[in-house]
Symmetry: C2
Subunit: 268 residues, 2 copies
Amino acid sequence: MNKYIGVFDSGLGGLTNVKELHKILPGENIIYFGDTGRVPYGTRSDDIIIKYTLQDLRFLSSFPLKAIVVACGTVSSVALDKVKDKVNVPIIGVVEPTCKKAISITKNGKIGIIGTEGTIKSGSYKNKILKERADFEIFENACPLFVPLVENGYFNSEATKIIANDYLFLLKEKGVDTLILGCTHYPLLTDVIKDIMGDGVSLISPGVETAVYTKDLLEREGIINLANKQGETKYYVSDSTKKFSYLASMFLNEKITGTGEKINIEEW
Amino acid sequence: MNKYIGVFDSGLGGLTNVKELHKILPGENIIYFGDTGRVPYGTRSDDIIIKYTLQDLRFLSSFPLKAIVVACGTVSSVALDKVKDKVNVPIIGVVEPTCKKAISITKNGKIGIIGTEGTIKSGSYKNKILKERADFEIFENACPLFVPLVENGYFNSEATKIIANDYLFLLKEKGVDTLILGCTHYPLLTDVIKDIMGDGVSLISPGVETAVYTKDLLEREGIINLANKQGETKYYVSDSTKKFSYLASMFLNEKITGTGEKINIEEW
């Protein structure tokens, strides 16, 4: 049987990762879990994030899995090292693939990182890059209003431009040539961010890099599904949301109907 | 012994109610619980909101109480009627006092209501007003970006003005002369909202009206504490937050240090 790739996130933003997996691994079956009943993780304490992550992993592990993708930047940053030995399949966070890409493409060694407060405070992207390249300069900023702006459809509003400028002008002034969009939602603000940062700055999307990394891993392990038939994707959430089809369609960039199947994550 | 007034909210916004209670009931002892580990409630399903509310009430009831104030607009709207017989002290939501005030001061019978999506969808303010005055006209709008804007200190930013105008221009066009700020956070945007709505529109803050209502109730029941001595206020939260002192100081409009005592609300 063709096992699933499990993907989870604090909410529905991790569907931007599923979108990229669909593109480059169309034959794979995917189980997606969005912890919509307890979103957001980014503002919570490490203890709570680890507890929630273990529950998310236990739920996903009730399916036959070949790999797990942690789409959540906060979980990848705060909990991944502490939970990875609790599952018996490869578990891929967004931090490592994204940092590898940033290191490989920067020309001036000045890398910017934006993310939720939790991700930035954890220093995970920064530490990963500096471990490989201590000579690089890293400039970071948390952008806490980007998630609500995206979820309310404020992609290209003048308000979004003002707020984005508040968040980004210092990184621009520092002369970064590479900017990590360290949160699932931020790629949806690519136009605004690109306008502010200018064409000379490469924007790195963790969703894209993680999908590429996942494909490489499945190939290496000889468990990639190259069938022509489109794989199936199942969506689970921890709280029903009438906005599911709106948000899921937005993040997947394709029309999705239905509400996702609701599970009680606190029981796991 | 002088019993406590229990106040709870999904997060720290309910401290705007505590601020008003401090003003007009300075002698009362207060227990505040902010469910910061599970904030926000406004986007969750009714079932989850009721479950969380019962846990919040069980925690507060572990103290000797004289009354409970539900500072959360979402809980007041969705859960109050379903849980009020679970406690043996008076329980005061924000909806009734606020609607009474709005009805008493409108001159043209056109009342605007803004709040979270949950509050607006529940129709609680609207239904309450129309039950008393079926001849009134009600105009509503959810303002989902106001909470994150406030929590990130965007009180008077140009971005906040643009977003506030998106939310309010239709209510203004309809000619409301009274506007209910149906969420704990919104009174902190009073300047921006007043600028858009104009001087002719009265803004009603549920925190103020609920405090007045609570004082009346304590007087009526003969359990008001008129001691000159300042009462004590204890703060409990369900997740530690480094932003506690920043946010608590902002909502209380006075300098607060410390982090609030953390409890595990899921055990209640």
